[in-house]
């Protein structure tokens, strides 16, 4: 329940009684989403509200300002950190804002925050177009994820999502409307840089503003031409896949003798500008793939015997070749890839022409296979930095068992984007349920190491990264003071 009651009644008048509730059960179910730190305090919202459009969002935000009610925004709920930290907060849930408009000719889509990647991809594939689907899964919000980072393996070809944002519709914390890029000049989202203001750096801030700077209500995102052949789904429930047309796609699994060879080969593949996806395959991924369909318990059963063996293998790289435009292109890419593999003394093996984790990202939350007990640290910089950082994280992990479980230092995942110009290192560490404090200590150490290495963390600790990155928290505070004078947009 929120106070004053008058505020609640005003919210009811905006969205209708059906779409706002202070029922304790509704609010309890909105208490926190996934990817939230276990040690953060998460308070039950005073009310949850579901606006249908931008005008309703603006009206809600104005009411929040009038009554000094803190608000937090969420949408598809697989979110990072969007939960209420203050009592008497309003949770603005944007699921109903799920419109998709696709401009085939100019190849962009305008989406509301309630659109999951899989829904957009489904509509795009029917039109011979595609977009990246976030690494965290096709069930997550296109808008929220793209504003935050837009991290997806297909980013090897398409770039990180946040660099593909076009026009933006943004309700600022005081309820004012900000239109960015070409959308500021009319009803057209086709271009991000202008004419008109381009404040996308501000929008994204350090690592997505996580609802601390108001509500983004629509964005235009770049989409890309795809093959006209149908991608055919196959399989049952727990073990489905997407069969790719063999005249346009080829997967290769490549084993290198050393990690250096693997890394240098990835650089070379990027220089040759081939491939749709290029990444290392951490042994844990292979464990997950081999136990697909047997669930988390089956995974653990498999892992306790096979983990060490898988981890002992040399670094594997997986490459998806894509004959964009023609099958001749596919033949060309294959020839180039095999030349590169030979140069670095690798051994290439063609893999089945199907996909679970990139086109629809159905297996993207594969880390959950371990039973929801994993922790992740991420850095973004170059491939070389990713390799350096992974070694440091391995050493840190060894000092924190338990709660870090034995994964044989095998989970470091190097996923380069933009043909190798940027790379992610993500370590998916399995952790015991017990000993959350120990996990926090592990996280703190890894953040220190990431900052010291000059890399960019996905969810950076301000105290650690602030001094290293030009005291950005102070700048953020200054910006927030300007945009959010009442300090109500997701206050800490």
């Amino acid at each position: 329940m929120i106070t004053p009651k008058e505020a609640y009644e005003t919210l009811q008048s905006i969205v209708g009684k059906e779409w706002v509730s202070d029922d304790p059960a509704i609010c309890e179910a909105d208490r926190y989403c996934s990817l939230s730190s276990p040690t953060d305090e998460k308070r039950r919202p005073g009310a949850s509200i579901e606006p249908a459009n931008t005008e309703e969002v603006r009206a809600i935000v104005r009411v929040c300002n009038r009554y000094k009610l803190p608000f937090v925004v969420t949408s598809t709920f697989y979110g990072a950190g969007t939960y209420c930290r203050k009592d008497n907060s309003i949770l603005i849930d944007l699921k109903r804002m799920n419109t998709i408009e696709i401009d085939d000719q100019n190849m962009y889509a305008v989406v509301g925050p309630g659109v999951p990647f899989a829904a957009l991809q489904g509509d795009l594939l029917k039109r011979g177009l595609y977009t990246f689907v976030a690494g965290c899964g096709g069930q997550s919000s296109v808008l929220a994820n793209t504003v935050n980072m837009g991290d997806a393996p297909i980013g090897w070809r398409t770039g990180l999502g946040y660099q593909r944002i076009l026009g933006v519709e943004w309700v600022l914390p005081d309820g004012e409307m900000l239109r960015m890029g070409s959308f500021s000049q009319g009803d057209d989202f086709f271009w991000g840089e202008g004419p008109g203001p381009d404040l996308r750096g501000l929008l994204r801030g350090c690592a997505g503003h996580q609802s601390r700077l108001g509500v983004v209500t629509r964005i235009g995102v770049k989409v890309f031409p795809f093959v006209s052949e149908e991608l055919k789904p196959d399989g049952w429930a727990y073990h489905t896949t997407m069969n790719l047309p063999t005249n346009r796609f080829k997967w290769y699994n490549i084993r290198f003798n050393t990690r250096d060879d693997a890394i240098n080969a990835m650089f070379e593949i990027g220089r040759c500008e081939i491939g749709l996806v290029v990444m290392t395959v951490p042994p844990i991924f292979r464990g997950v793939a081999r136990t697909r369909g047997v669930g988390c318990a089956g995974f653990w059963e498999f892992w306790k015997d096979a983990g060490a063996k898988l981890a002992a293998a040399a670094t594997d790289v997986r490459v998806l070749l894509y004959g964009i435009g023609s099958n001749k292109r596919l033949a060309y890419e294959e020839k180039v890839l095999l030349d590169v593999v030979a140069d670095f003394k690798g051994s290439a093996r063609e893999a089945p022409c199907r996909d679970e984790t990139n086109i629809m990202a159905a297996d993207a939350i594969c880390a959950n296979v371990v039973g929801g007990r994993f922790s992740s640290e991420v850095s973004y910089e170059s491939i070389n930095q990713a390799v350096r950082y992974s070694k440091v994280v391995d050493e840190i992990c060894d000092r924190h068992r338990p709660p870090i479980l034995q994964e044989y230092n095998s989970t470091d995942w190097f996923c380069p984007y933009e043909l190798g110009y940027i790379a992610k290192m993500e370590c998916l560490r399995m952790a015991a349920v017990e000993g959350i404090e120990g996990l926090e200590a592990w996280k703190a150490e890894t953040q220190d190491a990431c900052a010291a290495g000059g890399a960019y963390a996905l969810v950076p600790d301000n105290k650690v990264f602030g001094p290293v990155w030009g005291n950005y928290p102070e700048k953020e505070d200054a910006i927030r003071a300007l945009f959010d004078p009442n300090k109500i947009s997701a206050p800490e």
Binding site: P24, A29, S34, F77, R96, A119, A237, Y238, E301, G371
Partner: protein
């Protein structure tokens, strides 16, 4: 009912990834039909979803939350279609549906069942069927034409819906069995399967039905039970052993849906579809015949660190009756089967299940309307299903939306194909 520790363990394992809300991502073909959960699509608040209910279940267990009006609405409007449960089995293996069903039991134990659901129990107590119709009318559908065998290997379990609401389909089923050349019995004292009672958390009353029917089947000497009612099928196959603390394999009978039985007879050449049925149809998978129909495997929770469920056999939705109805329809001359976007384990519920059709008919009709729209977009002339309640609510929605779509039970189509 799960032991409290296991109930809590399952609910706590949910990471709120929201995968439970969509169909399998690889099967998404459009944004319009990408979603899985009727309460989520209609109400959108997270409470109206599997992860929301699991989170609320934890709070209720810890005495931090009571069964509020909205909590009750979300809990009782869930159709128990099992879509969330199957989705979760891709990644986390949470027993989502068991937690929701147990949550319903907890709600009933606190005296908070809905009046419409209580009436079901009252009716069953009075006359052994959920409608409160005269018990003596149960075999009325047979008329004078159907003459069950005094002793046979097969029992035809009719179920409340066919016995009282759709006698023509019960009759068609009997005719099909006759044409296949298999003598069958009908229980002299068949009671309601208890499906609705179990679904609405009234487990003691459901168990009474189970014990009576199992005893009656055993006394008949038959080893095979055939039914055309998808709800009765699932109840006899899955819920009865579950209520009795057994596995399906330990029951004294084998249950077959009429489509499984006829499909096998067609494949063995014992029955032939000789007549043309010139119609374009789309097939609606009943949840109770598909993803909910896997055999039950009784398991006493036992874990090894970090999270290994020792000796558990999982039910992940792939062992339902999906292909027999399709193979039957494809084998009928002149009939064209066109699939909807959400099929088999990704099916969208008709809206009737879980006691929703009884207590929330408007919401059931809305849910069915979504399915009818999906069917309409295929260009089919008719929807075929294999469950009496699916047929009824889909037919109502088809009329309400003025689609012109006809709705058939698959038995009606089969009988047309073999000739009367």
């Amino acid at each position: 009912m799960l032991k409290v520790e296991e109930y809590k363990h399952q609910a706590e394992t949910c990471v709120r990834c929201s995968y439970c809300k969509l169909i399998d991502l690889n099967w998404v073909k459009s944004s319009r039909f990408s979603r899985q959960c009727p309460i989520d699509v209609r109400y959108r608040f997270n409470l109206y979803s599997a992860h929301g209910l699991l989170h609320a279940a934890l709070a209720e267990l810890d005495n931090k939350l009571e069964f509020t009006p909205k909590f009750m609405e979300a809990l009782w409007q869930c159709t128990l279609c099992g879509g969330c449960d199957i989705r979760c089995k891709r990644n986390l293996d949470v027993e989502v549906l068991q937690v929701i069903q147990d949550l319903r039991e907890r709600c009933v134990e606190q005296g908070k069942s809905l009046p419409e659901h209580k009436l079901l129990a009252t009716n069953v107590k009075k006359s052994h069927n959920i409608y409160g119709a005269a018990a003596g009318d149960r075999r009325k559908w047979m008329g004078t034409d159907v003459k069950p065998a005094p002793r046979a290997d097969i029992v035809y379990f009719v179920g409340d819906a066919y016995a009282y609401r759709h006698p023509e389909i019960a009759l068609a089923t009997a005719r099909l069995l006759e044409k296949a050349g298999f003598p069958f019995m009908v229980l002299a004292d068949e009671w309601s399967s208890g499906h609705e009672l179990f679904a609405t958390g009234q487990v003691a009353a459901a168990k009474e039905m189970a014990e009576h029917n199992v005893k009656a089947i055993q006394s008949s000497g038959a080893k095979t039970v055939i039914t055309g009612d998808a709800e009765a099928y699932k109840t006899l196959k899955v819920d009865y052993p579950r209520m009795m603390g057994k596995s399906t394999a330990d029951m004294p009978y084998t249950v077959l849906h009429i489509t499984e039985f006829i499909d096998q007879q067609v494949k063995d050449g014992k029955i032939k579809f000789t007549r043309r049925v010139p119609i374009k149809v789309t097939y609606h998978d009943p949840c109770n015949l598909g993803r909910l129909a896997e055999p039950w495997y009784q398991w006493e929770p036992k874990y090894e660190p970090p999270n290994i469920a020792v000796g558990k056999t999982w039910r992940r939705g792939d062992k339902g009756v999906y292909m027999p109805p399709r193979d039957i329809l494809k084998g009928i001359k002149g009939l064209e089967l066109i699939e909807m976007e959400r099929v088999k384990d990704n099916t969208w519920c008709c809206g009737y299940g879980g006691g929703v059709g009884v207590a929330f008919p408007d919401f059931a009709l809305w849910t069915a309307g979504e399915r009818v729209e999906e069917a309409r977009q295929t260009g089919a002339e008719a929807i075929v299903s294999a469950c009496p309640n699916c047929k009824d609510v889909l037919a109502s929605a088809a009329t309400a939306h003025n689609t012109g779509l006809k709705v058939y039970d698959i038995t009606e189509i089969m009988l047309r194909a073999v000739g009367k």
